[in-house]
Symmetry: C2
Subunit: 125 residues, 2 copies
């Protein structure tokens, strides 16, 4: 069970940041109307608003590099919590930005997962 | 509702790090047998093992300073997810350590919350 949770968490993280770096408008498929994003303290609710925020980020090309992924089963919901740390390289910028992000994933009726909770913070040294 | 979630999250964070800095053996009261802690990639399950890990950390005195607290309602459980960033000053060390930590809190039958999921990571620049 615990091993499966780690595997699911890692698969989600790989998928999420691959979409983010390749075509971040496609991330909207991972959110639902109940989903919440807090991005550097700003709150967004629902796949539409979250997707609009992600599309509006002030850069076109970026590349995430993941440092750590920690996953746990979230009791009572069949969900998973995933905690990620890594860095974000923006095209044309010299230094990557360090970030931390957490996801609370819930199962869909199709046996996949969607993002119920998403909290993103840049790490300031 | 959202304001209440922020207030609950902040109250929990204040309480948690106050206990941590004042008498971290008392943190065991915030965990239950189902609780999970991942501390720098090491996994612990249940209040007893989690409490033992926290007591065994290789420092006696520390002081947390919180930089950001982001809280969201966690669907379907009546719970809350809380994401914290801050720094940890160890007695006798010159530089504080930056960290990020997430909690998934679930309600108890007494109307309070316990920690179901806890993931802690130091931030490396």
């Amino acid at each position: 069970m615990e091993e499966q949770v780690e595997t699911l968490g890692k698969a989600f993280v790989d998928h999420y940041y691959h979409l983010f770096d390749a075509d971040r408008s496609s991330l909207s498929s991972l959110y639902q109307p109940s989903s919440m994003l807090t991005f550097e303290g700003q709150k967004f609710v629902g796949a539409n608003d979250i997707s609009a925020k992600l599309r509006a980020l002030p850069f076109d090309h970026c590349k995430h590099a993941i440092s750590t992924i920690d996953s746990q089963a979230a009791a009572a919901t069949g969900g998973i919590v995933v905690f990620v740390s890594g860095s974000l390289q923006l095209l044309g910028e010299e230094h990557p930005l360090r970030f931390s992000q957490m996801f609370h994933l819930l199962p869909t009726i199709h046996g996949t997962f969607f993002v119920q909770n998403d909290i993103f913070r840049l790490n300031y040294g």
